[in-house]
Symmetry: C6
Subunit: 218 residues, 6 copies
Amino acid sequence: RFGEAELDDQVGVVTGLAWTEVGGELLTIEGVMMPGKGKMTVTGNLKDVMKESISAAASYVRSRALDYGIKPPLFEKRDIHVHVPEGATPKDGPSAGTAMATAIVSVMTGIPVRRDIAMTGEITLRGRVLPIGGLKEKLLAALRGGIKKVLIPEENAKDLADIPDNVKNRLEIVPVSRMGEVLQHALIEPLKPVEWSETEEPLKGPEPTDEGATAVAH
Amino acid sequence: RFGEAELDDQVGVVTGLAWTEVGGELLTIEGVMMPGKGKMTVTGNLKDVMKESISAAASYVRSRALDYGIKPPLFEKRDIHVHVPEGATPKDGPSAGTAMATAIVSVMTGIPVRRDIAMTGEITLRGRVLPIGGLKEKLLAALRGGIKKVLIPEENAKDLADIPDNVKNRLEIVPVSRMGEVLQHALIEPLKPVEWSETEEPLKGPEPTDEGATAVAH
Amino acid sequence: RFGEAELDDQVGVVTGLAWTEVGGELLTIEGVMMPGKGKMTVTGNLKDVMKESISAAASYVRSRALDYGIKPPLFEKRDIHVHVPEGATPKDGPSAGTAMATAIVSVMTGIPVRRDIAMTGEITLRGRVLPIGGLKEKLLAALRGGIKKVLIPEENAKDLADIPDNVKNRLEIVPVSRMGEVLQHALIEPLKPVEWSETEEPLKGPEPTDEGATAVAH
Amino acid sequence: RFGEAELDDQVGVVTGLAWTEVGGELLTIEGVMMPGKGKMTVTGNLKDVMKESISAAASYVRSRALDYGIKPPLFEKRDIHVHVPEGATPKDGPSAGTAMATAIVSVMTGIPVRRDIAMTGEITLRGRVLPIGGLKEKLLAALRGGIKKVLIPEENAKDLADIPDNVKNRLEIVPVSRMGEVLQHALIEPLKPVEWSETEEPLKGPEPTDEGATAVAH
Amino acid sequence: RFGEAELDDQVGVVTGLAWTEVGGELLTIEGVMMPGKGKMTVTGNLKDVMKESISAAASYVRSRALDYGIKPPLFEKRDIHVHVPEGATPKDGPSAGTAMATAIVSVMTGIPVRRDIAMTGEITLRGRVLPIGGLKEKLLAALRGGIKKVLIPEENAKDLADIPDNVKNRLEIVPVSRMGEVLQHALIEPLKPVEWSETEEPLKGPEPTDEGATAVAH
Amino acid sequence: RFGEAELDDQVGVVTGLAWTEVGGELLTIEGVMMPGKGKMTVTGNLKDVMKESISAAASYVRSRALDYGIKPPLFEKRDIHVHVPEGATPKDGPSAGTAMATAIVSVMTGIPVRRDIAMTGEITLRGRVLPIGGLKEKLLAALRGGIKKVLIPEENAKDLADIPDNVKNRLEIVPVSRMGEVLQHALIEPLKPVEWSETEEPLKGPEPTDEGATAVAH
Ligand SMILES: [Ca+2]
Ligand SMILES: [Ca+2]
Ligand SMILES: [Ca+2]
Ligand SMILES: [Ca+2]
Ligand SMILES: [Ca+2]
Ligand SMILES: [Ca+2]
Ligand SMILES: [Ca+2]
Ligand SMILES: [Ca+2]
Ligand SMILES: [Ca+2]
Ligand SMILES: [Ca+2]
Ligand SMILES: [Ca+2]
Ligand SMILES: [Ca+2]
């Protein structure tokens, strides 16, 4: 069942799309949040550019925290771990940026990610979505894996001309240019901005992710 | 006696299964917990992917702590050391994930691990069990080492068709898809969920593992 | 749209100019500021010399903080992340120094950067602007990208003799010798010095950068 | 006199046995304890596997502290340094594990180690003694160095058949399977368990090792 | 103008002399001091031996602090950054030691460095000046760069016999054997010793370097 | 004058003896102590084995602190820097151990080192002096450098048979087996043990080394 869409909408679990020498592949991104002290751990045989894309995704989320309903002290009171199975395969490149940011927003807000959506796109610190390579192979992998909707960078929309119609007919392909659009498509509930001032007391965040509690049946 | 099943059910000692160029082998995973400050040490000539699998196992356990009866402050007040003898042999790969997570749950709860069980499987941060290689060699090693029951990834169940009947008849082979099942099979007592809120006082955990106190005769 | 001038004047976003084997290129520098503890993160597949140029830019800004209206405790209460998309391309060299310093001043003061300006120049710790290579290729890239004004090191002014007239006629090219001049050209508002003494209470800085709030229409 | 048994029973000084290309050799392990903050330093041109064997030995001792009469706060209030002269020779492998653990127990309890004993054996985190290589060469080195008694892993007892009688007649060779046996043979006084609960006040440990005070004449 | 003497006497800016394959060269050393926590940053594409010479210079200054009018708590309340433009050129060797120490004393006392002086010399922790190589090339570079006075190690005085008279006539060349002499020549004001005892309250140091405030016209 | 005996008895300055491909050489070891937090810095282009010998020397001194008149809290309130000029020459090996330990005892007690003494010897953590190589070359270097007395390891005394009489007649050569003997010969005043208990208040140590104050004329 690995390499296929998830069965549930889950908190912190996002389907990315990888492009390897042997074709496209679904890439599961997993985030969990734990009581802690603001530490970020990344694992899954990730090379430097993919590690940096998680760092950029995390700073994007931190710098937009209030818009997303996250009070800043939560960053100091939780640890986050982002993992990309399967550990035996090295993974690199910046194109999982949108998936990384979505996973982090999901774990920090407790809002699940739609299970039948996949995404690809580098992100900038301000949340712009930059173009990626291997669009065709990635879309084919999404189709094989049972994905219904794929978010791609707007700057890759021009490459859709080369994609066979039978792929385009069976997938909802959504070009996006900003992280805000990605989150609107990917999360099952809208994000609610929150007010916070530096003088407020530190506060309690959502409970740590708990699989049973956060899976949402459809 | 090394390379054979343990004589006692012990806290923090789990039998994994390794696959090397010269065949399968039992891999003892040892965990101990000590009064400390939340530090995790890993030794045993482990290469990066196996180190990361311990990190993922630890985050899985931390993110599920309440379900497993572990109050979060315990993570801050104990150090954990995971060691894989024999130090002269380099070890790598993600397939000891289920064994690593079982060792950590066992040391943190004080519940011993059944001595006649072995296991293989990569785990994800959410506790899914992913497939591994070398199933046949690993099962043969389990048999040689006096193991009675082997937990394998459900996605490897299809490979059982290639395993000789004399192996399958002499071992109880249990396909599992989630870490929860692994723990049900491996621990000698069921885990008991616990309640905890962030405002509670830090609390005392179980005493540090003590060999004499935790070994359970059968 | 990447590789072109920005559509808005934004806080923390500066257009640098890179010189590669295949010609010049716009290099977007992005800075964000977050509630934190004085940590500086730099990403974007940056090699050592470019990383050091960010370090020097940050120290330049810290050592001139009061002139720029930044009270020193802000450095201890915020984290800054400087990112240079696109992650797949390694980037090196000291010539983005003026752009790095401008990005840091912009995020720390909340004053947006003019969207139609680009800049190139190494900086020293005291804010002097040192000469760079590849002037012609960089100016051509600026022109292609829709830039109106380019800040170059004064010591490169002599190289303008080799630049075609059609480039010089369509770009406002401004030689600068000090970081102060760069900031006067690049920021949409003048910097206002501030008073501060070490015995003052720590204070609140500007809110973390928020894209919607800080973009300024023209 | 180096390469020979010690003249005194000393705290923290243990004789291990190394196996090199040119034969066996006595390996002095030295531990000292100092007022500090729980830092462990290891020196002596040690390669990774030997460093890890010290780490495992230290965790073994910490996890068994009460059985050995060591109150846990002592680990936080002392630094330990383990050194293996001679600095010009690189040293590796796990077989000094029993010697490392003995040195650490000795410095933390202040109980001297018998001067005429040598030992070889990898240890696990639970204190099991695992087999080693080069038994014959190591025993010959012990004999040459004036050692009276050698502790070897029980799993190496079968290799004694290959050892010449004149060696076996002149050395007391003791196969051991657990660290507890090692300590009984090696320390000049029995270890006394101690009670301790986490709510107790931090306490004073034994004075830092002092050569004059701890040497015991025979 | 880079590669020439400074126009102003500045705090923290010292002209060193480098010796490269293509001849001598002026090397600007820049130091700035910032409110901070005692962190030292060094940048400028510096290799290990030059980095260590900054470390030694800093310890020399710290160990002589009272003689130089610096109260020790200042070291804990300021960060110092030493940078050597130009970032594209790797730099190594111990011969900038006197310049490094002068830069650090200047930023910590706020006393500017004479603009028309250059210096070369390794220093020891006690402030002795050790001989350097490439004297002739360095003196020629000083002459070309408009320098009036050059401080050289006393042990290099014997090499002056090989320097052409037209160089010696146009430069004031001063052999020095101790760091104290270097500072007497280089700083525009004498250093004033200060009293301090460990029980005193932490105190305020000079303001962070500010270019406008510290430049001194001549 | 470098490469010769010092002119004064100084605190923290010890003459070691190095053995290189081109013969023996005096090696000045410099230590300084500064108000700080227990940090140890080592510089001088030192390779790993020499760095470790400084670490072992420091632990030896810490573990014997009371015998040498040093109250333990001083280690937490001072930083020590050990430097070996000349930075351009890489240095390695354990044979400067006695010199390193002498330098550290001298800076921490404020007792100067005799200027006309040189020493060579590896030390163990317990202060034993182990044999070294290159004795003849080192003695010749001592003679050339104006040294009067040389401390050598007792285990090297047998090698004196090969040293020419004219060397032995002009140098006082003292074989030593323990660090205590080294200090008796090298320091200008005897060490005075001190009492201290862990419950005492932290205390003031000697003032940081100050060249003027600590040099002692002869
Ligand atoms: Ca796959
Ligand atoms: Ca659950
Ligand atoms: Ca084995
Ligand atoms: Ca027990
Ligand atoms: Ca591009
Ligand atoms: Ca907004
Ligand atoms: Ca030897
Ligand atoms: Ca003594
Ligand atoms: Ca130059
Ligand atoms: Ca100014
Ligand atoms: Ca020399
Ligand atoms: Ca003085």
